[in-house]
C-alpha cells in the first residue's frame, strides 16, 4: 500500500510539473501588435504605405473599394450603358433602382471608413512638428482621410449646392472603434474635408512621385472640393497653385490615346494615382476596367459599354483623339479581317444581347497586360477644368474659361473651326454648358459625370439604348418611335441621385439617419 501511495505522489508531481510547464502563449506570425506598429518612423511609414495598399485593386471581389470609387459615379451617369442584367448590384445603380441592401454601396461605406480609420491611427499616434519626414507622412494620411470622406460624401450625401443643411456623412476625426457617430450636415462635411486638405498641404513638403500624396495632390483635390462647394475663387486659387507648381504638363495630342496605358509615374498629368505592380494584377474580375473591357484572351467581363450619347458627342469631330479611348468590337474573319454588312457596307460589330460592344480603354494596361492599369484619382486636366468651371461661374471669367476649353479641344486634335468664342458657343446656351460638355469629353469614365450634372442642378437624359430602358424603371418613358426605344430622365432633385445608407449599417449604428426616398 505504501508503495502505491508513493507512486501516486509521483504522478501528482508529474502532472503538476507538466501543468506548470505549459506556456499557452502563441503569437501570430503575420504582423506586429498595435503597440509596436507605430512606435518609430519606420512603423509610421509601413502603416502609411499600407493605406495606399488599401486602394490597390487586390481582392477577388468585384465590389472592391477602388472600383466603387469610380463606379458609384459612372454607373449613375449617361456615359455608360449595361448590355444585360447582372447580379452585380451596380446594375441597380445604373437603372436607378438602387436599394439600401447592396454590397457595392456597403463596400464603399465600410472599406472607405476602414481606410479613414487606418489613416487616423497614424494621425492620432504622431504629433506634428517632429521632423519634415514625419510631417509629410501625417499630411499624406490626412490627404487620404479627406479624399475618402469626399468620395463617401459624393456617394451618400446630396450635392453641396442642394443645401448645406442636408444630411452629410459621419466625420471620423480620430480612430475610435466604439464610436456610433451621427451624420454631420453637408456643410460640416465639406468644411471638414477642405480643412483637412489645407492642413495636409501645409504638412507635406516632399516631392514624391504621383504614386503618393503630395502638397500638389492636396491642392488639386481642394480645387475639386471648392468647385463642388461653389467656392469658385478658392477653386481657382488652388487650381492655380497646382498649375504654378510646374510639376505637371498636359500630355501631347500624339501621346494622349495611350496615356492611360503608361505607368502613372511617367504620365505628365498624373497628380495622384494608385500604382500597381505586376503582382497586383489579378486578372479577369479585377480592376476598375474589368466590367468595361474584355481582352483578346478573355480577361475582363466586357459587359458595359460607352453609351451612344457619349459616342455621338465624341464623333462630332472625327479628328478627336479622345475617340480612341473607345474601342468598337468588330466581327473578324479567321484571318482577323473586319467583316462588313453586305447591304450597308458598314463594319459588323460584335454584340451582347443585341447591343454593340464599345469597350472603354481608360483602365486598360498595355497590350499583353490589359488588366494592369494605374487608376488616376487626380489628373492635371481635371484641375484645369475645375478652374474653367469656376471661371465660368465667376463674373468676367468666361473668356478665360473658354480659353481653357479651347486648349483641351486643340490638344484633342480638333480643327480651328471647333474652337469656341464668346460669340460662338456652338449649340450651347452659356459658357458653363460648354465647360461641362468639355469636362464630359475629357473626363468620361473617370467618375465625375453624374455628380457634375446634379451638383449643377442639370437634368440627365438617357435617351440611348441600354437595359435601363425597361418598362417600369424610374423616369423611363417607353417610346417605340424613339431610336433608342425610350428615354430615362433623372431630375437633379430625384431622391435616388445618391445612395441609401446601407440598412445593415443602420442596424448596428441606430444613430445613422437614412436618406429620404426608401
Amino acid at each position: 500500500m505504501k508503495k502505491i501511495t508513493k507512486k501516486n505522489i509521483g504522478f501528482v508531481f508529474l502532472f503538476t510539473l507538466l501543468f506548470a510547464g505549459c506556456d499557452l502563449t502563441r503569437a501570430p506570425y503575420d504582423g506586429v501588435p498595435p503597440e509596436e506598429a507605430l512606435k518609430d518612423a519606420e512603423g509610421v511609414e509601413n502603416v502609411t504605405r499600407g493605406n495606399y495598399a488599401f486602394l490597390v485593386d487586390m481582392t477577388a471581389n468585384t465590389n472592391n473599394l477602388v472600383m466603387m470609387m469610380y463606379q458609384s459615379g459612372d454607373y449613375r451617369s449617361d456615359d455608360l450603358m449595361i448590355s444585360g442584367t447582372t447580379s452585380n448590384r451596380m446594375m441597380l445603380t445604373y437603372n436607378y433602382l438602387h436599394n439600401p441592401d447592396m454590397p457595392n454601396t456597403l463596400n464603399l461605406w465600410r472599406q472607405g471608413y476602414q481606410l479613414i480609420y487606418n489613416a487616423n491611427t497614424v494621425i492620432d499616434a504622431v504629433a506634428p512638428g517632429q521632423s519634415p519626414e514625419l510631417d509629410q507622412l501625417i499630411g499624406e494620411n490626412k490627404f487620404l482621410r479627406s479624399m475618402m470622406h469626399l468620395y463617401i460624401a459624393v456617394g451618400f450625401a446630396r450635392p453641396y449646392p442642394h443645401g448645406r443643411d442636408n444630411l452629410g456623412i459621419p466625420l471620423m476625426r480620430e480612430a475610435d472603434v466604439n464610436a456610433e457617430p451621427v451624420r454631420a450636415t453637408v456643410g460640416e462635411t465639406y468644411d471638414f474635408i477642405a480643412q483637412d486638405l489645407v492642413e495636409a498641404a501645409e504638412l507635406m513638403t516632399e516631392s514624391k512621385t504621383s504614386s503618393y500624396a503630395s502638397r500638389e495632390a492636396a491642392w488639386a483635390l481642394l480645387s475639386r472640393v471648392y468647385l463642388y462647394m461653389e467656392e469658385n475663387d478658392l477653386a481657382i486659387e488652388y487650381a492655380d497653385r497646382v498649375i504654378d507648381s510646374g510639376r505637371f504638363d498636359l500630355v501631347s495630342t500624339e501621346d494622349y490615346p495611350t496615356y492611360f496605358q503608361q505607368n502613372n509615374e511617367s504620365r505628365p498629368e498624373s497628380i495622384f494615382a494608385i500604382h500597381h505592380t505586376a503582382s497586383d494584377d489579378h486578372g479577369r474580375s479585377m480592376g476598375v476596367g474589368s466590367m468595361i473591357y474584355q481582352s483578346p484572351t478573355g480577361a475582363g467581363w466586357g459587359e458595359n459599354y460607352a453609351s451612344k450619347s457619349l459616342r455621338d458627342l465624341l464623333d462630332q469631330w472625327p479628328e478627336d483623339v479622345r475617340r480612341d479611348f473607345i474601342e468598337p468590337q468588330y466581327i473578324l474573319d479567321e484571318d482577323g479581317n473586319i467583316q462588313y454588312d453586305d447591304e450597308t457596307g458598314e463594319p459588323l460589330l460584335r454584340d451582347r444581347n443585341g447591343f454593340p460592344r464599345y469597350y472603354v480603354l481608360k483602365f486598360v494596361g498595355p497590350p499583353g497586360n490589359e488588366t494592369l492599369s494605374h487608376p488616376e484619382f487626380l489628373r492635371y486636366s481635371e484641375v484645369y477644368l475645375n478652374k474653367a468651371e469656376a471661371l465660368a461661374k465667376t463674373t468676367g471669367g468666361e473668356l478665360e474659361a473658354l480659353n481653357i476649353v479651347n486648349m483641351f479641344r486643340e490638344r484633342a486634335g480638333l480643327p480651328p473651326e471647333a474652337m469656341y468664342t464668346l460669340v460662338d458657343l456652338g449649340e450651347h446656351e452659356n459658357v458653363l454648358d460648354v465647360v461641362l460638355e468639355e469636362r464630359r469629353l475629357e473626363l468620361f469614365f473617370e467618375g465625375h459625370r453624374a455628380h457634375d450634372l446634379f451638383r449643377n442642378n442639370k437634368t440627365m437624359f438617357r435617351d440611348y439604348p441600354g437595359t435601363h430602358l425597361a418598362p417600369g424603371n424610374p423616369g423611363v418613358v417607353i417610346d417605340p418611335d424613339h431610336p433608342a426605344g425610350g428615354t430615362q430622365t433623372i431630375e437633379p432633385d430625384n431622391a435616388r441621385i445618391i445612395f441609401f445608407i446601407p440598412e445593415s449599417e443602420i442596424d448596428i449604428n441606430p444613430n445613422l439617419q437614412q436618406n429620404p426616398g426608401v
Binding site: 502532472f15 493605406n51 487586390m58 480577361a299
Partner: protein
C-alpha cells in the same frame, strides 16, 4: 468497515476517491482463488472483469491479462460481470483455481458503448449517447464515415450537401449553438482527441463503432471543445485465436438527380422569348434558325459516374499479441464531367502484453487521396454553365472539335464553352493523412492503472490548379499553375490514472487525467505564370507571379477527473471536472472550468418492479454539465497590424484586429433527462429531453463601418437549443425463417437566440438574420406580395415598425428598394429523423432506410425564373400550380416577363422561398448470405460470404422545386452498387 466505506462514499465527490487510495479492504482468513477470465467467443482474455462475492462485500477485478485473485470463503459464490457479457455465477466449492469463460450478451442492453475515456454498457449509462456499429455502419458506400450515420441517431443531423466526389457530409448535434465559433463536433479516435483531419484520417472499413455523445454528462470529460457534442470513433482490433482474413468489394454506377427542376429545351426557350411583354425588343425575337440546335447542358456537364471499393483486412494474434492490418482502395467518378476521387488507405493496430503489469499498443493509419474538382472556367465552372448555357449553343463544331464560346454565333450569356478549357485544365487536391498512436498501460495494483496515449498526426494537402495558355481561364496570364500547400500537424498526449474498485453491491471508479495538445499549420501558395502549352510544373513557369504563406499555432492544456459510483446496479452517479487552457484566448482569460453531474436510476431493479415480467429495463437518467467551445481562429484575441500587403513592391502594414485580452471560452450548459424503457425482450424505447444554453458566445461582432475595424471577437450573446429525441427499436417478427425489425429515430430541436451584442441583429448572406427571440437560422428578406393583376408588376410588402420593432402596418409597393426585409421563416425543420426496416428471410436480408425532415424552408436562388432579367441564360419551367402573368385580370403567381427584367422581380424575396420537407429512400440493400454449411463454403474454407445489391437516394418525395431539398450546387446522385464480402 463496510459501513464506514459506504458512509464515506455517500458524501460523494472526488476527495472520496483519493481517500480510498489510503484505505484497504481487509478480509478474514479464507482461501485464495485465482484464475483467468476469457471471452467464450474469441478466447481473448478479459481485463477489468468485476468479480464480486455474492452476499458479501469486497471483490476483485481481473488484471490486464484477465487474471484475478480473490480471498473468499470456501463455500462462497462468485459473480463475474463485465460490460457486453452475460453475468455468470460460479460457486467456489473449495477450488483455488477457477478459469471462467464469459459469453457475449445478446441483449441490446448489454451493448458496449464507447464513451469518454472508456467503455460502458447501455445498462449503466447515465448520459445521452447514441452508437452505431457493425452492420449498421455498412449502409451507403462512402469514403466518409459520418455520411453512413445519417438518420441513425436521434438528434444528430447529417446531410450530404454536395455530390462532389470526396466531399464530406455535414454534421450537427442537437442544433446550432454557436454563431462565429464552429458548430462542428469534437472527434475522438481510439480514446484520444483526434488531431489534424479528424474523421478524414479514418477509413470507414476500419471502424468498429461510432458513438455520438450528446449531453454534458457524456461530453464533459472532453470539456474543452465538446460543446457541439463528441463523435467517438473506435477502430477494429485483432483478437487472439485463428487468423481471420476479410475481403470486401463493391462496384456500381451513379446518375445525377435533378429532382423537380426542369430546364427548357430549344423549342420551349424559343417560345418563351416570343411571349415576353415587349418581345420584339429582345435579342432572340423570331430568330427561328436557333431551333436547329437543341443541347441539354445538364447532359453535357453531368454524364454519370461510377464507384468502386476494395477492402481487405487480416487480424488475429495470441495471448500476448494481437493485430489488425487493413488496406483499402476507394474510387468514385463523379457524375460531373472530370470530377473524381481516389483514395488508398491502410492501418496497423497492434497490441502487446508483456506481463500482468505492462501492455503497449500502437495504431498507425494513413491514407492518400487525389480529388479532381470541378474545373474553374473564366468566369464560371460547369455547375453554373449547366444551368445557364442555352440549348441553342452546341459545345461541339460539326467536325467534332470543341467550340470556344467566343464565336460570334455563340448566344449564351458568357462567352465560354466550359468543355474547351477542360480539355487541358485541372484542379487537383492531393491529401495525405497520417496518424500514429503509441499507448502504454501499466497496472499499479489490481484496482488502479496508469495509461498514456500519445498521438502524432499530420495532414499534407496540396491543391494544384492548372490553366493552360490555350484556355480562356489561363489565357490572360499566358498559362498559370498554382500550388497551394497546407501542412498541419498535431501532437497530443493524454495521461490517465484509472481507478476501479468493486464490492459485492457497489463499485467506485474514477480517473484523473492530464492532456496537452500542440497544433501547427503552415501554408504555402505559389502561382507561376507564363507556360508553354501542356506544361504542368512550376519549373516551366516563366514568372513566379505570386507567393504567399503563413504559419498558425495553437496549444491546449487540460486536467480532469471523473468519479462514478454504482450501488446495486440500481443507482449510478457520475461527477466530472475539467480545467482547460487554450492559446486562442486572451492573456487574462485563457483557462476555463467545466464540470458535470449525472445520475441514473434503474427502476426495473427495484423490488417493487421486480415481478413485472414483461419489463426488461426501465431507467431514468438525468444530467447537467458545462462544456466549452474554442473553435475560432488561432489569434482572434490578438491585436494586429498585418504585414500581408505591399505597396509599390515594398512591405506595408495595416490594422486588421484590435486586441481582446479578455476573450475566453464559450460555454454550453446542458440539461438532459432521459428515459429508457425496454420490454418483452422485443421493444426498446428511449426518449431524451434536453436544453442547451450556449453562453458567452464567441462572436465576431461586426462593428459599424465607421469604426474602421470590420469585426472583433467578443464573448457576447447566447443561444438556446431545446428539444426532444426518440429512439425506438422493435423486433416485430422473429421466427426461425423470417424476421422483421424496425428502428425509428425522431428528433425535434427548437432554437432561439436569447442574447446578442446590445441586442443588435446580425444580417448575413444577404437573406439570413440572427435576431434575439428567433431561430439562429432565420430567413430575412423582402416579402413577396404577389402580382398586380392589372399590370403584372411585382409587389412586395413595406412594413412599418414601432420602436419595439413590432410591425404596426403593412403596405404594398412595386418598388423593390422601398420594400423592406422582414423575418419570413427559418431553415430549421420542425422534426427530422430516419426509419429503418430490416426483413430477413432465410439467407436474404432486405434493409430499407428512409430519412425525412419536415417544416423547414430553403431559398432557391440562382435564376432561371428571372422574369426576363437575363435574356441569354436558359430558363426553368414553373412548378405545377404556378403561372406567369399574361394579361390584365390574371391572378398569376409570377409577374409579367419583360425583356431586361420586371422591376427587380428577380431579386431576393419570398417568391423564391420554398418548403423543403422531404422523405427519402436513402438506401435500399438486398443481401444474400451463403449459409455456413454450404458445400462451396466448406470446400474453400470460407468463414462467411455474402453478396449484396444496394441503391442510394432511390426516391425522394418533396415539393421543393430545386434539384434536391438539401444538397448544394453539385447535385447528389442516385447510386446503384453490387458488392461481395468474403471471410476466411
Amino acid at each position: 468497515m463496510r459501513k464506514k466505506i459506504r458512509a464515506l462514499l455517500f458524501k460523494s465527490g472526488f476527495s472520496v476517491l483519493i481517500a480510498l487510495i489510503a484505505v484497504t479492504t481487509i478480509n478474514a482468513q479464507q482461501i485464495t482463488v485465482s484464475g483467468t477470465v476469457t471471452s467464450a467467443v474469441t478466447g481473448e482474455t478479459l481485463p477489468g472483469v468485476n468479480i464480486a462475492i455474492v452476499g458479501e462485500s469486497g471483490g476483485s477485478v481481473s488484471n490486464l491479462n484477465g487474471n484475478y485473485e480473490i480471498s473468499v470463503a470456501a463455500d462462497a459464490t462468485l459473480r463475474f460481470t463485465f460490460i457486453g457479457f452475460e453475468p455468470q455465477l460460479v460457486p467456489v466449492e473449495g477450488r483455488t483455481s477457477i478459469d471462467v469463460e464469459l459469453s457475449e450478451s445478446t441483449s441490446v442492453l448489454d451493448e458496449v458503448l464507447v464513451v469518454g475515456y472508456g467503455t460502458i454498457s447501455k445498462r449503466q449509462i447515465t448520459s445521452s449517447v447514441a452508437q452505431v456499429s457493425g452492420q449498421d455502419l455498412q449502409t451507403v458506400e462512402s469514403h466518409d464515415p459520418i455520411d453512413m450515420l445519417q438518420g441513425q441517431m436521434a438528434g444528430v443531423v447529417i446531410e450530404r450537401t454536395s455530390g462532389q466526389p470526396g466531399s464530406n457530409a455535414s454534421i450537427t448535434i442537437r442544433g446550432q449553438g454557436s454563431i462565429s465559433a464552429s458548430s462542428n463536433p469534437l472527434y475522438v479516435v481510439d480514446g484520444v482527441i483526434a488531431g489534424t483531419g479528424s474523421r478524414d484520417a479514418v477509413s470507414p472499413s476500419d471502424i468498429a463503432s461510432i458513438t455520438v455523445l450528446k449531453d454534458a454528462a457524456a461530453t464533459a470529460l472532453y470539456g474543452s471543445r465538446a460543446s457541439n457534442g463528441v463523435v467517438v470513433i473506435t477502430t477494429k482490433r485483432g483478437s487472439s485465436g485463428s487468423t481471420q482474413i476479410d475481403v470486401r468489394s463493391s462496384a456500381g454506377f451513379s446518375k445525377t438527380l435533378l429532382g423537380n427542376e426542369e430546364w427548357m429545351n430549344s423549342q420551349e426557350l424559343y417560345d418563351w422569348h416570343q411571349q415576353l411583354v415587349n418581345a420584339s425588343a429582345g435579342p432572340f425575337y423570331q430568330r427561328s434558325e436557333l431551333l436547329n440546335t437543341d443541347v441539354n447542358w445538364w447532359d453535357v456537364g453531368f454524364d454519370g459516374g461510377a464507384t468502386q471499393n476494395y477492402e481487405a483486412s487480416v487480424s488475429g494474434g495470441n495471448d500476448q499479441t494481437t493485430f489488425y492490418l487493413s488496406g483499402g482502395y476507394f474510387n468514385e467518378t463523379g457524375t460531373g464531367v472530370g470530377t473524381n476521387y481516389d483514395r488508398v488507405s491502410g492501418r496497423v493496430n497492434v497490441q502487446h502484453t508483456f506481463n500482468d503489469k505492462l501492455n503497449v499498443s500502437s495504431q498507425v493509419a494513413g491514407n492518400y487521396s487525389v480529388q479532381n474538382n470541378v474545373v474553374a472556367g473564366a468566369p464560371y465552372d460547369m455547375l453554373t454553365f449547366a444551368a445557364r448555357n442555352l440549348p441553342w449553343d452546341s459545345p461541339y463544331n460539326e467536325d467534332g472539335t470543341v467550340r470556344t464560346g467566343t464565336e460570334p454565333d455563340w448566344y449564351s450569356r458568357d462567352s465560354e464553352n466550359p468543355l474547351y478549357g477542360m480539355q487541358w485544365n485541372s484542379e487537383e487536391d492531393k491529401t495525405t493523412y497520417f496518424s500514429g498512436d503509441l499507448n502504454l498501460r501499466y497496472n499499479l495494483t489490481d484496482w488502479a492503472y496508469f495509461r498514456t496515449n500519445n498521438r502524432f498526426s499530420l495532414r499534407e494537402g496540396r491543391e494544384i490548379e492548372f490553366r493552360d495558355p490555350r484556355s480562356q481561364a489561363g489565357g490572360s496570364r499566358n498559362g498559370e499553375i498554382a500550388h497551394d500547400i497546407d501542412r498541419s500537424s498535431s501532437v497530443i498526449t493524454s495521461n490517465l490514472l484509472n481507478l476501479n474498485k468493486g464490492w459485492a453491491r457497489q463499485s467506485l471508479s474514477g480517473l484523473i487525467g492530464f492532456e496537452f495538445q500542440e497544433n501547427k499549420s503552415e501554408d504555402t501558395y505559389v502561382l507561376g505564370t507564363g507556360l508553354a502549352p501542356g506544361m504542368k510544373i512550376l519549373d516551366a513557369a516563366a514568372t513566379a507571379f505570386d507567393t504567399d504563406g503563413n504559419i498558425f499555432e495553437s496549444a491546449f492544456a487540460s486536467m480532469f477527473a471523473q468519479a462514478e459510483y454504482e450501488w446495486d446496479e440500481t443507482y449510478i452517479a457520475t461527477v466530472s471536472f475539467r480545467r482547460d487552457g487554450s492559446s486562442r484566448f486572451g492573456a487574462n482569460n485563457r483557462w476555463g472550468n467545466f464540470w458535470s453531474a449525472s445520475g441514473s436510476w434503474i427502476l426495473s431493479k427495484e423490488a417493487f418492479l421486480s415481478d413485472v415480467e414483461f419489463l426488461d429495463q426501465l431507467a431514468l437518467r438525468a444530467s447537467y454539465g458545462t462544456t466549452g467551445n474554442a473553435e475560432i481562429s488561432n489569434y482572434g484575441a490578438f491585436g494586429l497590424y498585418e504585414f500581408t500587403r505591399a505597396y509599390y513592391g515594398i512591405p506595408a502594414s495595416w490594422p486588421s484586429r484590435t486586441p481582446n485580452p479578455d476573450l475566453t471560452w464559450e460555454v454550453a450548459k446542458t440539461y438532459n433527462i432521459g428515459l429508457d424503457f425496454d420490454f418483452l425482450n422485443r421493444f426498446s424505447f428511449s426518449v431524451d429531453v434536453y436544453q442547451r444554453d450556449n453562453e458567452d458566445l464567441l462572436q465576431n461582432v461586426t462593428l459599424p463601418g465607421t469604426s474602421g475595424i470590420s469585426s472583433q471577437l467578443q464573448n457576447v450573446g447566447s443561444v438556446r437549443n431545446k428539444g426532444i429525441e426518440f429512439q425506438i427499436s422493435s423486433r416485430n417478427i422473429e421466427t426461425a425463417q423470417f424476421s422483421w425489425t424496425t428502428d425509428l429515430t425522431l428528433s425535434s430541436n427548437s432554437n432561439t437566440v436569447t442574447g446578442l451584442n446590445d441586442g443588435e441583429a446580425i444580417n448575413y448572406g444577404g437573406i439570413y438574420r440572427i435576431e434575439e427571440g428567433h431561430d439562429i437560422n432565420t430567413i430575412y428578406m423582402r416579402k413577396w406580395h404577389g402580382v398586380n393583376p392589372d399590370t403584372g408588376a411585382p409587389q412586395w410588402e413595406v412594413v412599418t415598425r414601432n420602436d419595439a420593432g413590432e410591425i404596426t402596418n403593412v403596405d404594398i409597393t412595386e418598388d423593390y428598394g422601398t420594400a423592406n426585409p422582414q423575418i419570413v421563416g427559418a431553415t430549421t425543420p420542425d422534426f427530422q429523423g430516419g426509419l429503418r426496416n430490416v426483413f430477413q428471410y432465410r439467407n436474404f436480408t432486405l434493409n430499407a432506410f428512409f430519412t425525412f425532415q419536415s417544416g423547414s424552408q430553403r431559398y432557391l436562388g440562382g435564376g432561371g425564373l428571372d422574369h426576363g432579367a437575363y435574356m441569354t441564360t436558359n430558363k426553368k419551367h414553373l412548378q405545377p400550380g404556378e403561372s406567369y402573368w399574361r394579361q390584365p385580370g390574371d391572378n398569376a403567381t409570377h409577374p409579367a416577363q419583360i425583356v431586361n427584367g420586371n422591376n427587380s422581380a428577380q431579386l431576393e424575396s419570398t417568391l423564391f422561398l420554398y418548403d423543403n420537407s422531404y422523405l427519402r429512400l436513402r438506401n435500399l440493400r438486398l443481401t444474400y448470405s451463403l449459409p455456413p454449411d454450404n458445400s462451396l463454403m466448406q470446400s474453400v474454407g470460407l468463414r462467411n460470404a455474402l453478396l449484396y445489391a444496394s441503391g442510394d437516394n432511390l426516391v425522394t418525395f418533396t415539393d421543393y422545386p430545386g434539384k434536391d431539398p438539401v444538397s448544394g450546387s453539385y447535385p447528389i446522385a442516385r447510386v446503384i452498387l453490387f458488392g461481395i464480402e468474403v471471410g476466411f
